[in-house]
Symmetry: C2
Subunit: 395 residues, 2 copies
């Protein structure tokens, strides 16, 4: 590995409330997040922008998203481009932005994500999300994205002997956490009965097992070198510096038919190993994590493949209360994709800034137990992409 790299820090974060923003366009959401991030960084203006987004071509009929978001945020002219990696677009944008800063090409980089799923009817959004799957091998034959995840859920239940009720505790806890989260899309607690009786979307997945469709934008500002990070922290009166200690991105086949094992998120295993190795940490060293729970089963598989528990154990341990307050790691206090919401290309950025704020100690929702290390896990497709970002309190 190229060892001359200077450390990279997150010095500003901004985000919108997640919701169905029929009255706001993507550029308005993005500019709001950017303005907050710049304020959070003591007025430091980004010199480049990477924007994560998946569906703008189909749903907004708009490309040129990098330049558009830069311009509407008052940053006309800076280097900017969009990164797409399905639902991991935000995480991949962070990976690309990290390398821009780390390489020395640009010294202050904004990594943003934005998604506007409510621009057309919900049917169009569902179709657009299925573009994460293989158009020629899967979608053409009628598969929806929820349908593909339903296959995996069924396999998980069959292999490890879980019932629908066993799995339903994911949503229960996510709604509980999100009730503390001022920017979450679903801020109401729910009950086991509500979850179990919610309509079937693609058997065995029910409505309350799925993340909702919503819009949102999030921005993180990255700088290179301790000196610069300290300068920003001092200007805004913050004590804690948050370092990006490791990044990992891995892929898998897009179509599920080519996979060796549908119950292992192989790309997650690879990406997390890479990110943790770069940070010189083990899974057991992580205090806090945000994992990608597009569906309940995705959350469980993530816990297993990130090395936080053994294969097949996650749903059992979760039902018993593991991964909650005071445990190690604490998981998804934002409410996760399930209840904080899942504004696709922005999700990976939300996760990273949530972990950063938990480490800083100023998270506005359910607070973690003063974590020193944190991890964000962002999936695209059915783990066609995994992006893992490891954050650490500096010194």
């Amino acid at each position: 590995m190229y060892e001359l790299r200077e450390p990279v820090f997150i010095v500003g974060v901004g985000y919108t409330r997640i919701g169905r923003w029929f009255d706001k366009s993507a550029r308005e959401l993005f500019a709001e997040a950017m303005a907050k991030a710049i304020e959070d960084a003591g007025g430091l203006k980004p010199k480049a922008l990477v924007v994560g987004n998946m569906t703008s071509g189909y749903l907004m009929e708009q490309e040129s998203l990098g330049a558009l978001m830069a311009d509407y945020s008052g940053l006309r002219g800076i280097p900017a481009f969009k990164v797409e990696a399905a639902c991991a677009s935000g995480g991949a944008a962070l990976y690309a932005g990290y390398s821009l800063v780390s390489s020395g090409l640009v010294d202050v980089v904004a990594v943003g994500g934005v998604e506007k799923l409510t621009e057309k009817l919900t049917e169009a959004a569902t179709f657009a999300l299925a573009m994460a799957a293989d158009r020629e091998y899967e979608v053409f034959y009628g598969a929806s994205f929820t349908g593909l995840n339903a296959l995996i859920t069924r396999l998980y239940m069959d292999k490890y002997g879980y019932t629908h009720e066993d799995l339903a505790y994911w949503a229960l806890r996510m709604h509980e956490y999100a009730s503390y989260n001022p920017y979450a899309q679903l801020r109401k607690k729910t009950t086991l009965e509500t979850i179990l009786k919610s309509p079937v979307i693609a058997d065995p997945i029910r409505l309350f097992d799925c993340s909702p469709i919503g819009d949102g934008a999030a921005v993180a500002i990255l700088v290179r070198g301790e000196e610069k990070a300290r300068e920003v922290a001092k200007a805004v009166g913050r004590d804690v510096l948050v370092e990006i200690a490791g990044v990992g991105l891995a892929t898998d086949s897009v179509d599920l038919g080519s996979r060796e094992d549908l119950l292992t998120l192989k790309s997650t295993v690879k990406a997390s190993r890479e990110a943790l190795a770069m940070a010189k940490l083990e899974p057991g060293d992580i205090d806090y994590a945000e994992v990608h729970d597009a569906f309940h089963v995705t959350g469980y598989l993530a816990l297993e493949d990130l090395g936080f528990c053994g294969k097949g154990e996650a749903a059992k341990l979760w039902r018993e209360g593991r991964f909650g307050k005071g445990d190690k790691p604490e998981i998804n206090f934002s409410g996760g994709l399930k209840a904080r919401g899942h504004p696709v290309g922005a999700t990976g950025v939300y996760q990273v800034i949530e972990v950063a704020m938990q480490i800083r100690g100023d998270y506005p929702g359910y607070k973690a137990s003063d974590p020193e290390t944190g991890l964000a896990h962002n999936l695209g497709g059915v783990a066609t992409y995994s992006v893992v970002t490891v954050l650490r309190r500096w010194r």
Copy 2:
């Protein structure tokens, strides 16, 4: 600037013929280009992939392009993502790929571009291309992408006193060059009369003033450090190493209404200054360049804003024969977007590998006069994006 950077080299190039490939899908085109690039690099396998593409969401109804192209090219699992910057998606992918290699995150990176414009009817392609413009401020009101460029052409003619015939020499020469190019889309010479009598697309732009709609894929393989580059060159019996000496990416407003001056490609001025400064070169030092001539006027403005001639002079000088064989710089011997073709997200990658091959001395078409320095200029939208890449023969 961060001075510890090791040089980055292009060690392999591959591409398909450009055309209307109704019988091939994007993944097939891409895998062909990748296989050729790996062969050209003596079998060196990329460890990450950045894919430039603009329209896959709308025209192919397919995202997850990074993983899809990696997998179909036999590289399942490697870090991969798509970059979108309208028609500069290929150039922006190179910019992102350069930073991945340069940062030390990955040591062998493939930068590819692919576009499949013939997946739906031509009307759909025209609509998809207009997503480079502002959906809310321009396209909603009926503007097409050619229409916006027609405004600029009219202004250029009015301000500098050019006739349609004055401008038509761009296409004449591009068709001439492309007649030597085995992978060009339009490989026939044409006549001034044909150009002048071709149908009006958006007055004053006629059919032969426009680049055609076509499909294609191109890949460049990048490595860090002279040692690695030399190892590859030795394996394939090549003497010349091609260094990426400078990269620059700049943006402008998406909508034309916000511009100060429609006849200056401000982002091109900025991006080329940045790339040339990084390479420690001046415009006058460049021996060979591929410039982005989506329309004749774009080519002329590019020559002016890259600093190769004064404002308003390009069409006059061009008509007089400047920028041809033996001149400095020599321009677009590929035939340019006009006749080599413009497979949108792949175009920027084609340009870079054309310049690289001219420097290596093994370009398969019309040969430049043994250039030592070269420049690729890739635009997105009406210069909403400019990416400038400076290449140089090593030592």
